[in-house]
Symmetry: D3
Subunit: 66 residues, 6 copies
Amino acid sequence: MPYILIQVTREGVTPAQKNQLISGATDLVVNVLDKDPATTFVVIDEVDTDNWGVAGRSVTDLRNNA
Amino acid sequence: MPYILIQVTREGVTPAQKNQLISGATDLVVNVLDKDPATTFVVIDEVDTDNWGVAGRSVTDLRNNA
Amino acid sequence: MPYILIQVTREGVTPAQKNQLISGATDLVVNVLDKDPATTFVVIDEVDTDNWGVAGRSVTDLRNNA
Amino acid sequence: MPYILIQVTREGVTPAQKNQLISGATDLVVNVLDKDPATTFVVIDEVDTDNWGVAGRSVTDLRNNA
Amino acid sequence: MPYILIQVTREGVTPAQKNQLISGATDLVVNVLDKDPATTFVVIDEVDTDNWGVAGRSVTDLRNNA
Amino acid sequence: MPYILIQVTREGVTPAQKNQLISGATDLVVNVLDKDPATTFVVIDEVDTDNWGVAGRSVTDLRNNA
């Protein structure tokens, strides 16, 4: 009964991409750990670029200065 | 000083229901573990149905094909 | 399909208390939100008192100076 | 490669304050643990006051009765 | 710069399986979202079966009565 | 009432360093957001190097091949 959290910046992830993340992450734990897909949860958390920092700066700032 | 995260799909949870979740979860750790309610946090995280997967499919998809 | 995380300090929580937390948290979302218990996860995360801070001090330190 | 989650109520945190949280949290793990800032993530999660409880009541309710 | 948390019960996950989870989850966000693997984190959290509940019972209990 | 999670690899973080992380993270939200330290939680989560991946490889593997 795995729980998988996928946290990414909110930059236009489409419903089709979300479906691919959900099915891919589920397949991963089914294939590697022989888990039951029926009790495998995948949660995608989209985070505003103002709210995600790397190397001490927000992604908003990093994108503007790329 | 417990921290309780309640993650559910965003499907019309009302403020009254949120209050019940907050008071109920707080009572639970007070009653079972004798914790101090003053330092018990409850955070409710509502997740879009596109962003929650179970059995390899999004909840949006599962609801549409129920 | 709720996911509930209960994070507490690691201070001798017994298996019986864990069972009460699991059943109580499950009942809460079943009763308040009419969720299906079969797809309700409860995860209890016990945290060493050195690793939990409140008011700027570790719980280890707070316990020693209580 | 630390990951730091800062969860606060959604009550008007400005982009400038977010930048201060990101740089401050990054500096903290760099200074204390000698971590590489390039692989230090900071995620700020703003939570509606209806969805955050303390002492068994929502922050919305606590603010209204302060 | 995705962050992926894979939470599973602690039931003998081997280092080789952990490597497969890490590489598989990284490949997933690289392939689906075109993310940079260099800033993709995967964290595996193994949870004791006493501390994981489903359907209102601990996994320890469910395994014993399977 | 902030909640701050600091997730790092388990590589010999000392109690003194943990205290610095706790006081530093608390000061940060007090100074930037004017939060009350009495209801500021800091949780440090140490993760085995086998269980943390970056760039598709475990930290154990990265350390061995540095």
